[in-house]
Homo-oligomer: 122 residues x 2
């Protein structure tokens, strides 16, 4: 357990490999949302960045296939799923925290997350 | 000094803001290359991920416009530039290091960078 369902694509560089999977504008926002307790499709859509339904569906599928998130049904007729982070997905937290510290230092107008987020252990 | 030439685009979330700028498969690889001492166009092209000339030119322009890198000429006729990280760009190192630790833990086949990289202070 704990090993990815995907392999390095472009090189064996661990940075390149991470970007193969979450190197886009949206995947890490979904990981962020799950980290702060969101779990359902409609909750992701409500985030202020305004992800579209087709991008959201695509990214959820990719993140699940790679082993970063898992889904389970919480309702039938119609079927509805909720999502949660696997250990592998949860352990991206230090990447998110480093991004927060960087943007807070260098980009005016970004909000400073609560210490419960910035100092949380993955 | 030290503040970005760009503003949050999608929300004031610092994660979203970081991804506005480097949320793609290539920008952080250029930052990586500069961090490990590469500085010239041809050196970036030689990296194993195989960036294309048009993507490289585009990303260098964006990173420079955002204040993460700067260029200076090292040759005239024809003019050639070399690039280096600004303080703002160099301070992305903790993001790169966190990605390394994550991929090394969860993705088989990624190489473990030397401690001089993983423990280096930005």
């Amino acid at each position: 357990m704990g090993k990815a369902a995907f392999s390095p694509e472009r090189s064996t560089c661990p940075i390149s490999t991470t970007l193969d999977l979450v190197g886009d504008k949206w995947s890490l926002l979904i990981i962020r949302d799950l980290t702060i307790g969101k779990s359902r499709y409609g909750e992701f859509l409500e985030s202020p960045e305004g992800i579209t339904t087709n991008i959201l569906a695509n990214r959820l599928k990719r993140l699940e296939a790679a082993g970063l998130i898992e889904k389970r049904p919480y309702q039938t007729r119609p079927i509805r799923h909720e999502y949660r982070l696997t250990e592998m997905g949860a352990k991206l937290l230090p990447v998110l925290q480093a991004m927060c510290r960087w943007a807070n230092e260098f980009v005016d107008g970004t909000f400073v997350p609560p210490d419960t987020f910035l100092s949380r252990k993955a």
